[in-house]
Amino acid sequence: MLIAVGSSIDSYGQDRVKLDCYRTIHGSLVDAQSGSPIPFASIFYIDFDKAYLTDIQGKFSFKIHCNEAIELEFSSLGYASKKITLEKQQSNVVVALDLQSIGLNEFVISAKYNDELGSDARIDQQALEHINPISIQDIFVLLPGGKVGANNIHSRSLISSRQAGSDQSTSFGMGVMVDGIPINNDGYRLQMEGYTGSQGNLQVNSGVDLRTISTDHIESITVTKGISSVKEGNLSSGAIKIVSKKGKTPLRSRIKFDPLNKLVYLGKGILLSEKLGTLHAGIDYIESSNDLRNVKSAYKRITSQLNYDNQFDFLDRQLDFNVRGSYVTSLNDRKNDEVIRLKQELYKTTYSRYTLASKFVWHTNAKLIDHLELATSLDYTQDLLQHKKKVENVSVQISQSSTVEGESEGIYLPQQYYSFYQIENKPLNFYSNLSATKTMQLDDKIRLTGLIGSSISYTKNFGHGVKVDPDKPPFPSNSFIRPRANSDIPALVNNASYFEAKLKYKDDINEVNLAAGVRTTKMLNLPKSYYLNNKLLIEPRLQLGYTHSKETNNFGVLSNSLRIGYGEENKLPSVDYLYPDKIYKDFVAFNGYFTDPNKRFVLVNTKILDPLNTQIRENKNKKIELGWDFKYNKLSISLTAFKETMKGGIEYYNEFLPQSYTAYNLKNTTISTRPTREDLEPYLKRDFITNSTPRNSAKVVKKGIEYRIALAKIDDIYSEIELNGAYYHTLYSSGIPVMYRPSITHNNKPYSYVGYYKGIDEQYFESFNTNIWINTHLPFWKLIISNFVQVSWIETFKLGNNTQVYPFEILDLQGNVTPITAQEILEQSSYSPLIRDFSSAIYNKESRPVSMLWNLKVTKEFNKHIKLSFFANNLLQITPSYETRFMRTQRQTLSAFFGTELTINLF
C-alpha cells in the first residue's frame, strides 16, 4: 500500500526532486541446504555503494529510493555470493545462499575490480582459497604487475608496488589495515653499531612484517596501489586492506604441505544465541624454511584470531558491535645451525603480538549523520633478539670504554671472547578513529555523500632496546653506541583529520563520479626543535570518473569508463629515524702494541657524533593516475597509467665531517719500559669522520601502465581467461648531492678531500610482463584446473648517463667548502682521485631475455567436506642465459616446486 501511495504522488510532480519518496526493502537470508538463517551476512547495494548487514536472525531491512530497480549482492563467509535484482515493485525477498563449492556454476577465482574511481583490486574468499597463499605477498601475484617470488616466508623481502625492483621507502610506506584499523611497526628501534638497519630477522623501517599476518584469518583483501581514500593515512605507496573472518561459518580446516612449508589451520564461527551474537575463532600454525637442507631452523609461527559480533538497539537505532582479539607468536631459533653449534653460540628471535580491537557502527540515519563509526584498537608487541656470539678477532682490536669526549687510555681486546647482546622492542600502539558519513539524494540522478572523521594514534616502545657490554663488543670496530633504552624515547602521537565529499550523477547512459577530499596530519609530542612538531601536513586527494553505458541488442550493456585521479600521500618517520642514538667514534692517538704485553699502551681520542636530524620531514608521494575500463558481455579490459614521484624517502645518509685531534709518536722506539706521556711527541692530526644520519634523500619516480583483459567464463571450454600485466619504468636516485671520499693512501695519510657530486647513481629499471590465467572450471567433475603462465618480456637496467664525474664542491680537512670546476681538477694532479671515472661499460644497458614459467594447480572437491589441491610451480621454465653489461654470462633459474593442500569442512 505504501508503494501505491508513493507512485501516485510521483505521477503528479515529475519535475519535483523526489527526495521524500522511499520504500523499505525487507527480507531474510538463509542457508540453501539447511534453511537456517545466516546472521551478519553482508548485503551490498551496488549502485549506491552501500553495505548493510543482516541481523542475528538473518533478517534485513533498509530504505531505498522509490521506483528503483536495484541490484543487491548477498555474501557471507563460506557461502557462494549471489546477485539479485529487485524490480521496482518488489520489496520483500528471501534469499538462499549455497555453500561455497566447486560444484556451483559460479566460482570466480580472480581478483575483482569494482571501483569506478580507482584501480583497487579485491580478492575474496574463493580466490584466496584457490591460490592458497602462505603469505600476503603471494596475493600480489594476482594483480597486474605481480610476479612469482620465493615460495616461503622464512626470508623477508621488501614489499614492492608499481615498480621494477624494490626499495625500502616503498616498503616502509605500504599501509596495512585490518577491518579499517592500521597496523604499523613505526615504534621499532634498532640502534646498534654493526647492526643498525636490517640484519637477520629483525628489520626496521621497511614496513609491516607481512610474515606476522596469517592469510587464514582473512575473508577478503583489497589492495590499493593508486590513490587511497582520505580515511587511510601514514602511508605513501599503497594500502593493503584486510577484512577478517567473522560471523557464523562451518568448521574449516586447511592443511598445506610442500617441501619448504607446513601449515595447519582450524577455524569456526558459531552463533552463540540470538541475544549474544556470533563468535568466530581461528588458529593456525606454520613452519617455513628457506633451505631444504636445514629445515630445522625454520621460521615457526602460531596465530589466532577471535571475532565477536553482535547488534543492539541503541536509542532506537541499530548499533553494530564488533570486538576482535588476535595473538601472533613466532620463533626462530638457529640452534641447529652448524657454525652456531660449533662455536657454542646462541641466536634466537622471539616475537609476540597481542591485539584487541573494537568497532561500533551506529546507524543513526538522522538529518546530519547516517552512520557514526568509532573504531579503537590496542596492540602490544614483544620482540626479543638474543645473540651469544663468539668473537674471534683476526686482528688486534682496541676496546671502546670511554663515555666522554676526549683522550683516554684504551685497552687491547683479547683475541677471543664471548659477547652477548640482546635487542628488545616492546611497542604499544593505541589507535582510535571517529568518523561520520551522510548520504543525500539531491535528485533522482544526483547523490552526495560526505565523510568526516578524525583519528589519533599513540605509539610507545617499552622495550629495553639494546643491551650490550661495551667491554665485550660483538662487532668490534672504531665506533660504538651507548644505547638509550627504547623506553626512554618519547611516544609518537599522531593526529589526523579528514573530509571527503563524493558526488555521483547517474542517468541511463552516463555516470559521473567525483571524489574530493583532504587529509591533514600532525605529529604531536615531538621535541620543539623538530621541524615536524605540530606541523600541519595536508594531503589532497581527488578522483574523477566518467562512465558511458549503452544497451546493445545482443549482449547486454557496453560500457566505457574514463577515470583520473591526483593524490598526495605522506609517510611519517618512525621512532628509529626520529631518535637515533649518539655514536662514539674512537680515533687512535697512539697505538703501541709492543711484543711484551706489559709494555703495551694505547691512547684513544673519542668524538661523539650526533646523527640526529631535527629537520627530518615526512616522505611525500605525489600520485597521478589515469584509467580506462571497457566492459562488454564477457569481456572486460582495463588500462591504468600512473606516475608517482617521491623525493624525500628517508634513509641513513653518510656525511663526512672534518675532525682534528692530538696524535703521538714515540720518541724512542727502543724504550724498555711501558711508555708514559713524557715519552710521546704530540702532533696535530686531521681526518674525516663519517656520520650516518637519517635524511630525506631517497628519490623514486615510478611510471607505468597496468593492463587487464579478462574473459568471463566461456562455456564451450568451461574456462575463464585473464591476462594481466604491467609495464613499469622506475628511477631510483638520490634527492640530494652525494659525498664521496676517495679511499687512497698517499705518504702515510688518507686522502684529504671529500667531494660533493650531483647526479650520482641514477638507476633506471624497466620491466614488462604478462601473466595469463586460464581457470578451467568443471562443475560436473567438481574440478578446477588452473594454468598460470608468466612471461617476462622486458627486464632492463641502466645507469643514468649524467653520473657526475667531477665534484662541484670540495670539503677540506679544515672544514672549508669550496666550489670547484672540472678544469681546476684536471690541472692539479693531487685532485685526480676525486675524478669518479667509470669505464664506459658501466653505462651499458643490461637486458634480460624473454623468459617464461608455467605453474599448474588442480583442485578437486570430493564432497561438501573435502577438497584436495595439488600444485606444481615452475613446472616449465624458459630462462635463457644472457650477457651482463660487463660481458659476463648469467642465468637465472627457479627450481621446480611441488605441494599439496587439503581443506576439510565440518559443520
Binding site: V394, S395, T745, D837, A841
Partner: protein, 394 residues
C-alpha cells in the same frame, strides 16, 4: 893485440851505456783514477780502488782522496779497475771499468760509481714469499703475510731507500690487456712502499735476509691459533693507518708512498706479484709523473682507480707468483722473470699455506746460497707449510 883490447873496452863501455839506456825505457806511467757519481758525493775518501793488470794479473790497491782521486804508478798495459766504499765490510756504492789501456805517461780514467742496490747490479733478491695465509680451524689468518729479501753479494749492503710494490694486474684473470699492454717497458702497480733510513740504517750481512712483515706481532700470543705466525722479530713492518692492523713500535715502519686501497693489500692467492725496485728520484716526483687511471681488474671494468706505472728499468727483482689452475698471462716482463712459480687455489681463495722460496744451491766457492737466474720456474720451489715465524730476539 892493442886493437883487441881497445875493442873489448869499447864494447864494455857500449854495453854499460846500453844498460843505462834499458833502464830509462822501463819507467812507470802515472794513472789517475777519478771517481764520479751522479749523486755528486762530497767525500770519496771511503772508496777503495783496486787496479788489476789483465795480462799479468797483478793487482794494486789504493784509497781515493776526498775529491775521489787515486793515483797509481803503473807500467803500460791493459787494466781493469774496481772501486767500492767499503766501511766495516759493508758497501753502498761501487763502480768498475773493465778494460782500458795505459800507454801515455799520464792517463786519467773516469770511474763512475753508483748504488750497489740498484737495478743494474745484483744485490738483493726476493727470497721467501708468504702471501697465502693459513687457517685456524675455520678462521683465516689475515694480516700475517711477509716476504724476505736476501743479500746475495759477498759484502754487507744496506736496504735503505729500496721500494717494493704490488702489481695491479692479476695473472689469474682473463679480463683483457688493459694493464698488460704497458709491458715490457712498464709494469702497473697498485701500491708501493719504501724502506726508510739515512743510507746506513738497515744493514744486511752477506747471505742474510731482511724480513718485511704485514703486522709484525705475535699472532699466536693466546696460544689458540696454532697455525698463525709470530712476526714480532721482523725487521720492518707494513703499517697503513686506517687499515685493520696495530702498530708494533719496536719494528720500524716502511714509508707508505701510495696505496689505492687505503691499506696494504696483497692478494692472498698470489696472483699479484711482489716487485722490488729502486726509484732514481724522490717518490713524490715519481708519483706525479707516473700516476695513471685504470680499471681495477676485479671490478669487471667498472671501478677506475689511480694506479702507478713503474718503468721496468727501475726493478731490482720481482717474482711472477700465480695459480696453477688460473694462469692466463704474465704480469712481469720476461726480462725480469722468464718463468713463474704457481700455487694451488683460485683467485678469490687463499689460506692454503702455499709458501714459496728460492732454491738453495752450492755456489762455485762451496758456499750455500740461493739461485737467481731471473727464471722463477727454475729458481723457486713450492714449500707448503714452510712459512716461518720470526720471533723477537731476546
Amino acid at each position: 893485440m892493442k886493437k883487441i883490447i881497445s875493442f873489448l873496452l869499447l864494447s864494455i863501455i857500449l854495453f854499460t851505456s846500453c844498460n843505462s839506456d834499458d833502464n830509462s825505457s822501463t819507467s812507470l806511467s802515472e794513472l789517475t783514477i777519478q771517481i764520479t757519481s751522479k749523486q755528486n758525493l762530497e767525500d770519496y775518501s771511503n772508496f777503495q780502488v783496486t787496479l788489476t793488470e789483465l795480462q799479468s794479473g797483478q793487482t794494486s790497491t789504493g784509497k781515493a782522496n776526498k775529491e775521489g782521486r787515486a793515483i797509481f804508478k803503473v807500467p803500460n798495459g791493459t787494466f781493469k779497475v774496481v772501486t767500492e766504499d767499503l766501511v766495516d765490510n759493508a758497501v753502498t756504492m761501487s763502480g768498475e771499468v773493465l778494460n782500458f789501456i795505459v800507454s801515455e805517461q799520464k792517463t786519467t780514467i773516469e770511474l763512475p760509481v753508483e748504488l750497489v742496490v740498484s737495478p743494474n747490479n745484483t744485490s738483493f733478491v726476493i727470497d721467501e714469499l708468504y702471501f697465502n695465509g693459513a687457517k685456524n680451524q675455520y678462521a683465516y689468518t689475515y694480516y700475517e703475510q711477509y716476504f724476505t729479501i736476501r743479500n746475495i753479494t759477498d759484502k754487507a749492503i744496506y736496504a735503505d731507500g729500496l721500494s717494493f710494490g704490488v702489481a695491479g694486474d692479476f695473472n689469474s684473470l682473463n679480463v683483457g690487456d688493459e694493464m698488460a699492454k704497458f709491458l715490457p717497458d712498464d709494469i702497473i702497480i697498485s701500491q708501493f712502499y719504501t724502506i726508510p733510513g739515512d743510507g746506513k740504517t738497515f744493514r744486511v750481512e752477506p747471505n742474510a735476509s731482511l724480513v718485511i712483515a704485514f703486522s709484525a706481532i705475535n699472532h699466536n700470543e693466546s696460544g689458540n691459533q696454532p697455525n698463525s705466525l709470530d712476526l714480532s722479530g721482523a725487521d720492518l713492518e707494513i703499517y697503513v693507518e686506517g687499515g685493520m692492523t696495530v702498530d708494533n713500535p719496536e719494528v720500524p715502519n716502511v714509508i707508505v708512498n701510495h696505496s689505492i686501497f687505503e691499506a696494504f693489500h696483497w692478494q692472498y692467492s698470489g696472483a699479484t706479484p711482489m716487485i722490488l725496485f729502486r726509484l732514481p728520484e724522490d717518490a713524490d716526483t715519481f708519483l706525479a709523473k707516473n700516476k695513471i687511471k685504470l680499471a681495477n681488474p676485479l671490478s669487471m671494468g667498472s671501478m677506475i682507480q689511480d694506479y702507478v706505472k713503474l718503468p721496468s728499468d727501475y726493478v731490482v727483482d720481482a717474482v711472477e707468483t700465480g695459480l696453477k689452475q688460473e694462469f692466463y698471462h704474465k704480469v712481469l716482463p720476461n726480462s725480469i722473470d722468464r718463468g713463474s712459480i704457481l700455487v694451488a687455489g683460485s683467485t678469490y681463495e687463499g689460506f692454503l699455506e702455499q709458501f714459496v722460496q728460492r732454491k738453495t744451491v752450492i755456489d762455485k766457492d762451496g758456499k750455500q746460497t740461493i739461485q737467481d737466474t731471473n727464471n722463477s720456474t727454475e729458481d723457486f720451489i713450492l714449500n707448503v707449510g714452510g712459512q716461518k715465524s720470526y720471533p723477537k730476539k731476546k
